[in-house]
Symmetry: C2
Subunit: 649 residues, 2 copies
């Protein structure tokens, strides 16, 4: 790690988004998801599974009597909602919503115990059992989401009540866990608190917050193993509960983190952990930790990531499996895992700006994350398959976790609020800044107000990306100022073109690790134009990717495409695209062009009754239409396929 | 059904096998499997999971004290062993083995209760719970295997003690179950007793044995549902136990059998039921039942059967799923299910001799059944995949039921003894006989002694099938005799050739439903020569078979081939065979030729580190070698693949 290369994210309030693509999603979250979530948290959605989250807090606060209901991590749903609300209030103040949030915060405060402890499950249902089963019981996980919400809410509103609640809980946690004699040498069973504590440290500047994050990272996976100690203390044997056969790797606690070489275990936990590791490495300058992040990044993104930026190859444990094992139809590919991959990529980019991190972040955002939410903002995928045969989802037990259509809400409602907090904070992911360089990682219509090299800067980005690849950047430093504007040259783009103030310049000599480094004295009125040609491209998988061999995917710009039954009829497996067939953009669907081209389809008609025959099936010429993957499943139920058979190979 | 067309199987003792292919398997079973099973049943195999089967009988008999151990159907392992022993004694008398069997039979008799009831699980472990949970507890299943063993042992040895035990138990069962007032209107939760009772009827001629079989078939799936009645009587709610979500279809009890149109539920139960239905239909002339058999046959073999003759598309419930759902790597494809398919095919052939029944019987025998046993007779597959990636078997939870190598024995030891009883009785499957026609269904070196049209006949079949397709049949009727010799013309054979006494004849005008009908006055010394050319053939799947599209299988004669890592290296998915490439036979492996040809292999070397790229992987020319599917996995662990990518499609 090169500390001088750290390029930190700019605060959300520095970026104002006016983007054809993202603003629509932000608006959906503001207008539909956040209010819907509030109703769901309050058990007021007719027909939906009850959340009971608010009610749990009321009971814990002693305002009403009743039993705890929901998952042990039910509290985190409210915290994630508050975090999304915070981001919304940052960019779109709303007094009524703020009042709703303030009331919820008051309630949270009432549920906090005198010693700072805060978890409605244990307070209501298992009062004597606090901190006895961190491997499974998510107390530190809920704490992490509380801290993230508190930081965001304080930054959004300047109000400190949630922050004070969070800090009291963190202080309590520090009395329970740590390397000092008499404390438990534990760490989160489900990670998130690590990165939350670094955010808290950024806000408070309190070294003890960073120290606790470092401790959790360093302690993980050490011997004697905390899970064994916990288990013995509970008087249990044989690691009861789910995933007995990989008690340790499931939570990435099989080895000390610096010895982990391969992404393993529950995918969401993994990327949350790696994000926290990157955060701590950046703050402490710990090169061994940074190197562990790079090693895990390389394994995950080069051996265990779907072309959609999805991760998690199996439902069991919602986990990574092994290199090149990426089945298209039985995977987990949880929306939250792609969100966590965005978190991790964003941190790696801050640690050392390299195009590969931004390429993966973009791939996940435009594909595996956005596929999680419907175009109307009312339905959600938890699992994001690359191939769907609705009959198999209905009729095969090993597909039972794969919904063929987005669902209105989930009993385990982790994904919808997670999408909400990511989309409402999307502005944070566009730019980072080091001492003398402003990095543009994502292209989206936006205005940035920050200072660079000591000079206030206003920057305006105009684009219809990812519909088209033209980006216009208008620079307005308060005074002429020398710094580097680093524009990302996406890995998918073969021939980027660049012009400054109308004069073309060759980006090749300016290219460094995936960015065009425009170092000059910038003055108000300077205009940079970046053109990223976006022909429809074919994408192939590594020869060892069994689920892709003999197949091809379609991508245009950062957007991966897929076939849907709505356009191509049933039995998508019967379609094949010739390698030389031209692929053309055509009518838009939900704002992005669709892709058409010639194909061949195996004919069922002439085949007859037999299941097997010694003559091949006949093929007929036809045309296919592919649509953006993230927009699939918005036109009724049906088949879908990302990896398409390639004729001629 | 046309009763005059019934062509019944000939008894095992009528056929003596001298066959290069089958005799070796028979010898393996005689010399290794049967003795090994006996040791296993007696818990004398070091390192193997304990069977406890014999010990359970000893305890039930009051000879020793102890607890029952094993599955509720543990008794059936001993019965299946006895049945295999009976077949062995029929063809290869062995006084020592017969004495062993007699001792086991004495023990079984000692375990039988005074009222005829016989089941060690209930007698030892749940004495008051007899007949309270037929859906799950396998009492009638064990009874079925007892009856099958008893019939076979009586036919083999003339000894009636096991038959008497079985008949006493059947008489007891008839006091418990039946349509008469006061009896339970139940039927087997796991079928087999239905077909066993028809065998018993053939031996005893007692109409009550057929009537009980008919009753079980007719009652199945009727309303009010017996499982509900049983459950209520147990005071349970919600159908506890496995497979709650398809309590009825799992055991084919979702509808009366004549209303069932689609093969459903646990595959072994299904084919055992359908076999029993065909048996009863043949004996009673019930056309509606025969029609149900044809409908279920057509669905199963044309929509839900693997090219290897395997059935059972998923592990959950070990069951059928839905049309065209035949994944290559997560299926169940149990050895016992292919064996049951042979039983069903054999019965359909007796009901109405049509080539398609024999084609499926042959496909299952040479592929999905024989893959269940290793070439040394010491290891067994329970699950018979069409594609194996050992890392996935080890690392994916949804593959955990798929062993990458054959196993020495199973706690649920249904498959090894089932293979043993099928192989030892293989002679029964070669010929059937109607009043005026002798049908030859399978080609194997053998001698047949029977009478036809009132005349004793000796027939000798000489062949090296399936190594080569030449068959010589020497006819020796005691006196010149007019009848039809019906020789099967396999569905896989495009150009069969026929000669009688050296004179070629055109088989085309003699062909009827898959058989060459040679009607003439046969005299001693007549020689029929049938030549079935066996070029290596490509096989394609129906366009709706998603697991086969873009792929091709290789078959020669009845033998399906596969690629193995031992010959082709790792990553079989990287191999593709051009459609026009010549396929040639080459060196034999375990007695059958292997197949070689040119192929293309995607190169990993030049690809680099990325998982996805916008340039296709390079391919290089290579050669592949395919080996008989049933012989895979005999040369160490490694990948295997039946459906091979086809280049150029």
């Amino acid at each position: 790690m090169h500390p001088h290369r750290l390029a930190k994210a700019l605060p959300l309030e520095a970026v104002s988004l006016h983007d054809a693509f993202w603003s629509r999603y932000v608006q959906l979250v503001h207008e539909k998801v956040i209010p819907y979530q509030w109703e769901a948290l309050n058990d007021r959605v007719p027909g939906a599974e009850k959340s009971h989250a608010i009610e749990n807090f009321r009971i814990a606060a002693g305002l009403v009597s009743g039993d705890f209901h929901g998952y042990v991590f039910q509290d985190s749903d409210l915290y994630k909602w508050l975090e999304a609300v915070a981001y919304r209030l940052t960019t779109h103040p709303d007094a009524a919503l703020e009042a709703q949030a303030d009331a919820a915060i008051t309630l949270i405060g009432q549920a906090q115990q005198p010693d700072g402890y805060l978890n409605t499950h244990f307070t209501v249902a298992q009062p004597g059992k606090r901190w006895t089963d961190e491997r499974r019981k998510h107390e530190l996980y809920c704490a992490g989401h509380l801290v993230e919400a508190a930081v965001a809410y304080t930054q959004a509103t300047g109000k400190r009540s949630l922050l004070e609640i969070a800090c009291r809980f963190v202080d309590h946690i520090a009395t329970v866990f740590g390397p000092e004699p008499g404390k438990k040498r534990g760490y989160p069973g489900h990670q998130v608190l690590e990165m939350a504590l670094v955010k808290l440290f950024h806000l408070t500047g309190e070294a003890r917050h960073l120290a606790l994050a470092s401790y959790f990272i360093d302690e993980r996976g050490r011997q004697p193993h905390f899970y064994d100690i916990e288990e013995e203390a509970r008087g249990e044997k044989g690691h009861q509960g789910y995933f007995e056969d990989y008690v340790y790797a499931y939570t990435q606690a099989h080895l000390p983190v610096r010895e982990q070489k391969v992404a393993a275990g529950h995918a969401v936990r993994a990327v949350y952990l790696y994000s926290g590791m990157a955060d701590v490495a950046m703050e402490t300058g710990d090169e061994s930790l940074a190197q562990a992040c790079r090693t895990l990044w390389a394994n995950m993104t080069r051996r265990q990531m779907y072309v959609t930026g999805a991760i998690g190859s199996q439902e069991y444990g919602e986990d990574f499996t092994f290199d090149f094992d990426l089945p298209n139809d039985t995977m987990y590919a949880e929306t939250c895992a792609s969100i966590g991959l965005v978190f991790f990529a964003h941190r790696m980019l801050q640690m050392e700006p390299r195009g590969e991190y931004a390429d993966v972040m973009e791939r996940a955002l435009y594909n595996g994350v956005l596929s999680g939410i419907s175009q109307d903002g009312e339905r959600f995928f938890y699992v994001n398959p690359l191939e769907v045969w609705p009959e198999a989802c209905a009729g095969r037990h090993d597909h039972r976790h794969v919904a063929a259509t987005r669902q209105p809400w989930f009993g385990c409602a982790c994904c919808p609020p997670n999408i909400a907090r990511l989309i409402t904070s999307i502005g944070q992911y566009l730019y980072t800044r080091s001492q003398d360089t402003l990095w543009v990682h994502l292209y989206a219509g936006s205005e940035l107000a920050c200072s660079i090299a000591g000079t206030p800067l206003h920057l305006r980005q105009l684009t219809t990306y990812p519909s088209e690849g033209h980006i216009r950047i208008e620079m307005a430093p308060e005074a002429p100022c020398s710094f580097t504007l680093a524009l990302r040259l996406p890995g998918w783009c073969r021939a980027p073109r660049l012009a400054i103030n109308g004069a073309s310049i060759d980006p090749a000599p300016l290219r460094r690790e995936g960015y065009a480094m425009l170092q000059r004295l910038w003055t108000k009125g300077d205009v940079v134009e970046l053109d990223l040609p976006m022909p429809v491209e074919r994408v192939w998988g590594h020869p060892a990717l069994r689920s892709g061999t003999g197949r091809v995917a379609i991508q245009r710009g950062p957007v991966v495409y897929c076939l849907e039954e709505a356009d191509n009829g049933t039995n998508l497996g019967a379609l094949a695209i010739p390698r030389e067939a031209p692929l053309e953009t055509t009518t838009a669907l939900f704002g992005l062009p669709t892709v058409e081209g010639p194909a061949l389809r195996l004919r069922e008609g002439p085949w007859g009754e037999a299941l097997y025959a010694s003559a091949p099936p006949e093929a007929e010429s036809c045309r296919f239409r592919a649509v953006p993957y993230h927009a699939w499943g918005n036109r009724g139920a049906g088949e879908m396929q990302v990896w398409i058979r390639e004729q001629g190979r």
